[in-house]
Amino acid sequence: MSELLIEVRGLQKIYRVGKVDVPALRGVDLDVPAREFLAIIGPSGSGKSTLFHIIGGLTPATAGSVRIAGQDISSLSDAGRTELRKQKVGFVFQKFNLLPNLTAGDNIAIARHIAGRDQKPEPEFEEVLKLLGIAARLNHKPAALSGGEQQRVAIARAIVNHPAILLADEPTGNLDSENSCAVLDVLRDLNRRLGQTILMITHNPEAATFAHRTVYMRDGRIVA
């Protein structure tokens, strides 16, 4: 087994809604080795997205610890979490979340720019673009791309800075079965060929079969 990339211990997150505390995570423990493709399944409100948001540095935890490649991110400041997102995490969202004003190529380039890597991506990235099947679509704006193409551009953007972790939140949720299959194939290929560690949230048990391992969440806990 590879070394642990993600270590989550006793993770809790409580949201304050008005005057009411709403627990989203109630003590999550999770180990993810490097180069693993992990699927997380659970009903709505089970805490999957919250777990992603904390691991991805979008929000701080209320209690517990998260270590990524040995670094404890639970104590990071806002600026520290920004740096984490810039250097170590790539996100793929259900709604693709491409910047509509930029071309597909510029959507990828802006991620490089934000990470302070303004030079062109490494030559190997050309291979990745071919693998994703979007090399010929880079000059198009998102509105001119199909849902599947948009999601593949989003994947390219997420991995262009070689993040330690790719977090995919329902990546096939807005796609038909053919495009879903293509995107899942791409994720599996990235994991196999590049050793990319992937955590994928899904409602779809069939999608989860593309992963090495599946964990189940319910009521803010990992139940299996």
Partner: protein, 365 residues
């Protein structure tokens, strides 16, 4: 890449961007027109004063550079000055304001001709009777008048246009001095006296002599007088310009505040995307401020262009009333004014965008 993102954002909503630039341009145009009118009209006054051909100008005590209050100088002083040593010629002139910034001059035409070399007539010729009026080409153009026409809106009486002259000497309207004196109850009085020295070398001597002869009067060489015709020397004008500058900043601020606030609201999700990619608060703020700066620069350029349009309109519609100069020296100042306004206006939307929670921003529909 940041530039591409900024330009792409502006191009994404072209109407909003253009409208914002146009609104930013309005105060820029206002400032440039106001300054241009001030400087243009003062320069025109100086040019016309120089056109008289005098070396020294004598104005009553307590008069401002631009205006004359009544005609308090006894006309007999003109003859006395005329007899002074080194004085080649003295000419009394009466000015009377006939509305807005226009005045009519009462002159003794033979003396005026001797001092200035005379009018160059484009139509008609000199006075033939007491009710004659000579108008300059700009007044004729603005009021569509020709030699032989009758004018009735000056001092509520009919005047016969005897000649249309080239501009650049005196005011735009000249009538026989006795007529104007009698009409305005200033018989035997003049508003100012122009003096020509025997030769240029005598000007300082004559000036000193006049100051001794007429203590309390405002006496200048023509060079001094025209150099005093600046914005700084006209009471209240500088303050007025400062007020307009302040209004310019406020309008630029308000326009960009509203425009960028709307833009930030519409782009909440995109801000969330940028944050998920690791964009810092400063990066987000920088994008918003850069968009505002581009709009500010665009607005300034449009404003400068509109000042040319305003000048062309003024030249066509009011050639005799208003003279607007183009003031390139004020372009960078107007640019800085609009940039200050837009940066202030973009600051609040920019900071609120920079401080947005990325999860809430990503969930924004």
């Amino acid at each position: 890449m940041t530039t591409r993102l900024v330009l792409a954002n502006l191009k994404h909503k072209p109407m909003r961007s253009l409208l914002s630039m146009f609104l930013i341009a309005v105060p820029v145009t206002l400032i440039l027109c106001l300054v241009g009118l001030s400087e243009g009209m003062l320069a025109d006054s100086a040019r016309r004063a120089r056109g008289i051909g005098a070396d020294i100008i004598i104005r009553p005590p307590k008069t401002s550079i631009l205006s004359l209050s009544g005609s308090p100088i006894p006309e007999k002083l003109v003859a006395a000055i005329d007899q002074k040593p080194h004085v080649a010629l003295a000419m009394g002139m009466m000015s009377f304001l006939v509305g807005g910034v226009s005045s009519v001059n009462g002159i003794d035409l033979p003396t005026f001709n001797k001092m200035s070399g005379g009018f160059r007539y484009l139509q008609g010729g000199p006075f033939r009777g007491p009710d004659d009026i000579i108008i300059d080409e700009y007044y004729a153009q603005q009021h569509n008048l020709h030699a032989g026409d009758t004018v009735t809106d000056i001092l509520n009486r009919p005047w016969h246009v005897c000649g249309v002259a080239e501009g650049g000497k005196l005011a735009r309207l000249a009538v026989p001095m006795p007529t104007l004196q009698d009409l305005t109850g200033n018989t035997g009085k003049v508003s100012q006296i122009f003096v020509k020295a025997d030769k240029p070398a005598d000007i300082p001597t004559v000036l000193a002599e006049m100051k001794e002869f007429l203590p309390g009067y405002n006496i200048y060489t023509m060079e001094e007088f025209t150099s005093l015709l600046t914005v700084e020397n006209v009471g209240g004008l500088n303050t007025f310009i400062h007020v307009m500058v302040g209004i310019g900043v406020v309008i630029g601020f308000a326009v960009v505040l509203l425009s960028m606030y709307m833009a930030v609201l519409q782009r909440t999700r995109e801000i969330g995307i940028l944050k998920s990619l690791g964009a810092s608060r400063w990066f987000i703020l920088k994008i918003i401020l850069a968009e505002a700066v581009v709009m500010g620069i665009g607005g300034t350029v449009v404003g400068i262009g509109l000042s040319f349009v305003a000048r062309a309109l003024i030249l066509t519609l009011y050639p005799s009333s208003l003279t607007q100069a183009i003031t390139p020296g004020w372009w960078p100042i107007a640019g800085v004014i609009s940039l200050v306004g837009v940066l202030l206006g973009a600051l609040y939307p920019g900071l609120s965008a920079a401080n947005q929670d990325p999860i809430e921003a990503l969930a924004y529909e």
